[in-house]
Amino acid sequence: MKKWISLILAASCAVSIFAAVGCEQKTEEKPQEYVSALPVISDFESLDEVYARMSFKNRFGKVSLNEDKKYVTSGDRSLRLEVHGDYVPNSTPTLMQVNFTGLERENIPYVDLSCLESVQMDLFNETGAEQTLELALVIDGVTTDYQKVTAKAGENKLLTAEYDVKGLSVGSDMTKAEALVIKFPKAETMEANANLFYLDNLRFTFLDAPPAPIEVVLDENEFCSFDKAYQKYVVQAGGVGPTEGCQPILSINTDLQYCKDYTGRSLKAVLPRGTAPINDGWPYFTFIDKLMDQFDFVSLTEQNADFVFDVYNEGGAYNFGLEAWSDINGLKSGYSFTAKNGWTEVRVSMQEFLGVTKNEQMLAANVTQIVISYGKFDAPDKAFYFDNFRFEFSGKNN
């Protein structure tokens, strides 16, 4: 065991140190090309490291070390990935997760990716066809949006997924990076060959210095209009229970047809077909802490403002939950609303929404998350557009 711990520590320290150096010291002491080459996430040289730092989920397939030099770009080995999956399209994706700091149980600090520029890898795509991989970071327990990268058939040197760390920093504490998740395309059928890849030289590149942070700026009574550039980063997908592979896919919509009053932008939420078990698990999206921190919910509740937003639905009526959560056990509230065909205005009084108490603690004073959730469904993907989250004062108490 000792050998393992030291290995993990060594690996994690290397990443941590380099990541930190990347931001603060490298511009003075190291040439850019040297720094960029340093922070190798993994060179896939030992099985011990694969076991210690990597996990492969959802019927991934078969993973092994390759020693065939034809598929090695750095060191003596690369990682051979025979991706099977469950052979069911649009269901649970096959994921490879590389923990930057070893297993969770080792209690090793996070990695600072404040200066992250990109993730790069050398990939041999032996499927015979162009393939799309998707990469995401896990920052402080939250998975960021996936970045798509296209790998042509054959060798892909320095395949790069660039990260807008300035934007990511709005919603995520980039000093608390935990892992990289790569979504690989699964085999189409059991009878077909598995998708074969060789992966080597997986690494970060860093900016010279952390970018200036984006400030959260709001119009009067605005909660989130999605019209401002930073607002693409203020929502996060998640889920209660088994929701892997079917959490909402969130993006900013610029098609005015799906923006309230044909102006600005809106949030597009694609709700994927549910993955098994269908009757368990509730996907949701929520708003980041930094946005929540902008509001005095106690005051808004006392003024009995309404929390209002608009949702557009192209299909049949569909039910959502609007919930407010706190860190206090049992102190939460929830309402259901139906997104009818076309635009629906959803309105809830803050007194009803956040005025609830438990053990003399009011939710408004403790609310940590506002959540829009729904039940999984076994039907094709659905798309909804959310716009203009705001507070309105109807003159009732103000």
Binding site: D86, N90, S91, R273
Partner: protein, 800 residues
């Protein structure tokens, strides 16, 4: 042997080495004590003898160590022996190899031997309150010797034990005989040789696996260990379980998901079942069932009938198309829907789900008929086992196959109750799931391997139809009510995966860690397989007796003589016996099988309280048979015999001794020996009187009877206690029976008395706690009777 031992002692400069000469070089290698142990005995890497318990623990296992490498085996059977190497210096590289064994001109090839390095795992706490084992480094993962060498595992620290697990599987065509050969132990270039013997008996163990089993194996755990969660690897695990005579629960690792329908998955499974159904080494397989929510129940799921019917239809279609009955070995285990309803007390939902099962089964039968499925397949479908974990309860009337933990079937009366269930058309399996604990059989690392081997014997004796456990490859750790990942070598280093049971949930270690494409088996699998093989041999004996019965038009049963063997091994599923006891029992079983091969049966054997033994010997082929040296004469192949002071059958060079069955002392009970109490424990006046040469007693409702044992000696050296009781009336009566002495009582069993004469037998009395009782004074019967009844007591006797 004496000469060899003398040479060895000289070679090893006074070390307690008692095996063969020490050949090889003397260049710096360690001196070592090399001993052997049975494959079921857990010899720890080292013992802490600084405490009295520790010293006693070491002494207990020192006693099982031997200077002989000796295996007795059937053809087509696996048997194992361990070599325990204890060097006086650090050994940086050791290896063990086995050469060809010879018997005259015949050779038992070295390739028949499998040699494995024992990997030691830390057990920090002993959770079983009645366990006499202690914390320490226990052997479990058995790494192929070659692999251990390649990965540098083959080192030994000075003074520590290193076990090497040697298993022989004798080919079916091997000639019977005693084979001798050499085992070489090389310690850093210094070689020791051991002479070994393998006695191959003239009997071939069947390939068939008659005891069904269900070993769930979740593909979701595989990545942590094998870095491979493909169906291919799943099938490798299934094959590995089959190697140990166990059946993986599901034949495939797929289930309906997204656009993949139940029909598609079911067809895939059913096609795999075609091969499995025809392979006699596959004991059983499960048909998948799925859960769904129901507004009727808020405490859990119900059966997804639609999916279940789809599965059954697919099996019917594929079975009919391939002309194979896919239901004969199939079963359903609803652990994902109604697990342990007796513990969770969700009786209504459990019964409801079982009725759903029956309803779907009826629809499937109609479908099978419409598809002109063969009648035997339809009958198998109608009898499809629906296994529900949990004990029988009158509140679970709709359950078809009960599956309690092993300890539940823990007394004679309960066994009888379950047998009656079977007669009524229901069935029962049993299972292990962290429970039971020692002294009941377990598959825990910190239990001696004897108990898991005995599970096979017990299953046969108690009529258990199958064995179920919860997982074979739990490559996780259960921490704070959550399963968390455990990966790679940590799966070897951390065997405390479940809070109170070392080893529960995994029979394998990931082979990928050591570059192997298949899992590495736990030592426990070897002992489980030994028990499964014993079960098969017992089953074959039963079949042979049945065949002889059919041929001769008589009824022959080995049950009586097998009771003698069972009685030496355990009592009421509690295990205290030694590996030596098992080998003796196996030897007796072997001799019965060898006799049966000659067409000879020992039927209806009964040991009476007065020490007499009666039986019916059958010799169908005219082979001459003697009893205690006297040749028997047969009429129509049968001969009724009676003997006192021993029961030794000999025929055609085969000698069978009924386990030395012998009553050491007995006494007729008299009225002064019997005291009866009413339900309030008041002495019942005039309840006892002499009747027809026996002592009659009238037992009040819920009464108690004390039977004096003062005329015989019942103590820690007692084997079995025999009591003759004649029950009047027509109803059976249940009683708890305990020994009493020095103001203490020790529960023996719960039994039913049946109308007529009963010879009650309590085996392995020596296993009771005798620490505060030198000798038993009386036997206490506490009856469960609503109405008074009468009985008569006969003699009491005891055996060694």
């Amino acid at each position: 042997m004496k000469k060899i031992a003398k040479t060895a002692v000289a070679c090893l400069l006074g070390a307690v080495f008692a095996l063969s000469g020490c050949g090889g070089t003397e260049s710096g290698g360690a001196n070592a004590v090399i001993r052997t142990a049975n494959g079921a005995d857990k010899i720890l890497q080292s013992y802490d003898t600084s405490t009295m318990d520790g010293a006693a623990f070491k002494e207990r296992f020192d006693k099982v160590l031997s200077d002989k490498f000796s295996i007795q085996t059937f053809r087509n059977e696996y048997e194992s022996e361990q070599i325990i190497i204890t060097p006086d210096k650090n050994v940086s590289s050791y290896k063990v190899s086995v050469g060809d064994f010879k018997s005259g001109a015949n050779t038992l090839s070295a390739s028949a031997f499998d040699v494995r390095h024992e990997y030691y795992h830390r057990v920090e706490s002993i959770y079983d309150p009645e366990s006499s084992m202690l914390p320490g480094m226990y052997p479990d993962a058995l790494i192929p010797m070659q692999t251990a060498q390649e990965y540098g595992l083959n080192t030994i620290r000075a003074g520590e034990n290193q076990g090497v697990y040697i298993t022989v599987k004798v080919p079916k065509e091997q000639a019977a005989g005693t084979y001798t050969g050499t085992i070489t132990v090389d310690l850093d270039g210094k070689a020791y040789t051991l002479e070994g013997t393998v006695e191959v008996l003239d009997y071939t163990l069947p390939d068939s696996v008659s005891l069904k089993s269900s070993v769930p194996t979740q593909i979701g755990y595989f990545m942590n260990g094998e870095l491979n969660d493909t169906q291919e690897m799943y099938e490798v695990y299934g094959e590995a379980l089959k190697e140990y005579r166990l059946g993986i629960q599901y034949l495939s690792s797929f289930y309906p998901s997204g656009s993949r329908t139940a029909r598609e998955c079911a067809l895939y499974d059913a096609k795999l079942a075609v091969e499995a159904a025809q392979n006699i080494s596959v004991p059983s397989y499960a048909i998948r069932v799925f859960e769904k929510s129901s507004p009727q129940f808020t405490d859990g799921y119900v059966l997804n009938e639609e999916y279940f019917l789809e599965y059954l239809k697919a099996y019917i279609d594929v079975g009919t198309e391939n002309k194979v009955d896919l239901f004969k070995k199939a079963y359903v285990y609803m652990g994902n829907i109604i697990d342990e309803p007796d513990v969770g007390m969700f009786w209504d939902r459990a019964n409801y789900v079982c009725r759903q099962f029956d309803s779907v089964l009826a629809q499937a039968v109609t479908y099978a008929q419409s598809k002109n499925a063969p009648q035997d397949m339809i009958e198998s479908l109608q009898g499809l086992d629906n296994i529900v974990t949990g004990r029988y309860s009158s509140k679970l009337q709709d359950v078809q196959t009960y599956c309690p933990t092993i300890d539940v079937i823990g007394d004679s009366a309960t066994v009888e109750d379950y047998r009656l269930l079977k007669e009524s058309g229901k069935d029962y399996w049993w299972y292990t799931c962290t429970l039971p604990k020692i002294p009941y059989p377990t598959v825990h690392i910190d239990d001696n391997g004897i108990s898991s081997r005995l599970m096979g014997w017990m299953a046969k004796e108690y009529g258990v139809s199958g064995y179920l456990t919860w997982e074979s490859a739990y490559y996780m750790e259960y921490v704070n009510d959550v399963s968390v990942d455990l990966r790679g070598i940590d799966l070897y280093e951390n065997v405390h995966r479940w809070p109170d049971a070392y080893g529960d949930g995994f029979f394998f270690y990931p082979g990928n860690v050591f570059g192997l494409g298949e899992p590495i088996p736990a030592l426990r699998l070897f002992t489980v397989r030994d028990g499964m093989e014993d079960y098969e041999a017992l089953n074959d004996l039963e079949n042979r007796y049945a065949a002889m019965s059919a041929e001769a038009g008589v009824t022959l049963s080995a049950d009586g003589v097998l009771n003698e063997i069972y009685g030496k091994l355990y009592s009421n599923v509690k295990t205290y016996c030694t590996s030596e006891d098992i080998l003796a029992a196996k030897d007796s079983l072997a001799r019965l099988l060898l006799l049966a091969e000659k067409g000879i049966a020992v039927s209806g054997f009964t040991l009476h309280t007065d020490g007499s033994m009666t039986a019916e010997i059958y010799s169908g082929n005219g082979v001459k048979v003697s009893l205690n040296g006297k040749e028997l004469s047969f009429t129509g192949g049968k001969c009724e015999v009676s003997a006192q002071d021993g029961f030794v059958i000999e025929a055609d060079g085969i000698r069978f001794d009924a386990q030395g069955a012998k009553v050491l002392g007995w006494a007729k009970t008299e009225t002064s020996d019997v005291v009866v109490y009413d339900g309030e424990l008041n002495p019942a006046e005039d309840a006892v009187q002499e009747e027809e040469g026996m002592t009659g007693a009238v037992i009040p409702a819920n009464g108690r009877m004390d039977l004096s044992l003062s005329k015989i000696k019942v103590n820690k050296d007692t084997g079995s206690l025999l009591v003759e009781i004649y029950l009047d009336g027509t109803e059976r009566v249940r009683a708890s029976v305990a020994l009493y002495g020095e103001n203490r009582s020790r529960l023996l069993d719960s039994v039913y008395l049946h109308p007529g004469n009963n010879i009650l037998r309590f085996d392995r009395v020596c296993d009771l706690d005798w620490s505060a009782m030198l000798e038993a004074e009386s036997l206490i019967f506490v009856f469960e009777n609503a109405q008074p009844f009468s009985l008569r007591t006969g003699a009491v006797g005891y055996t060694a």
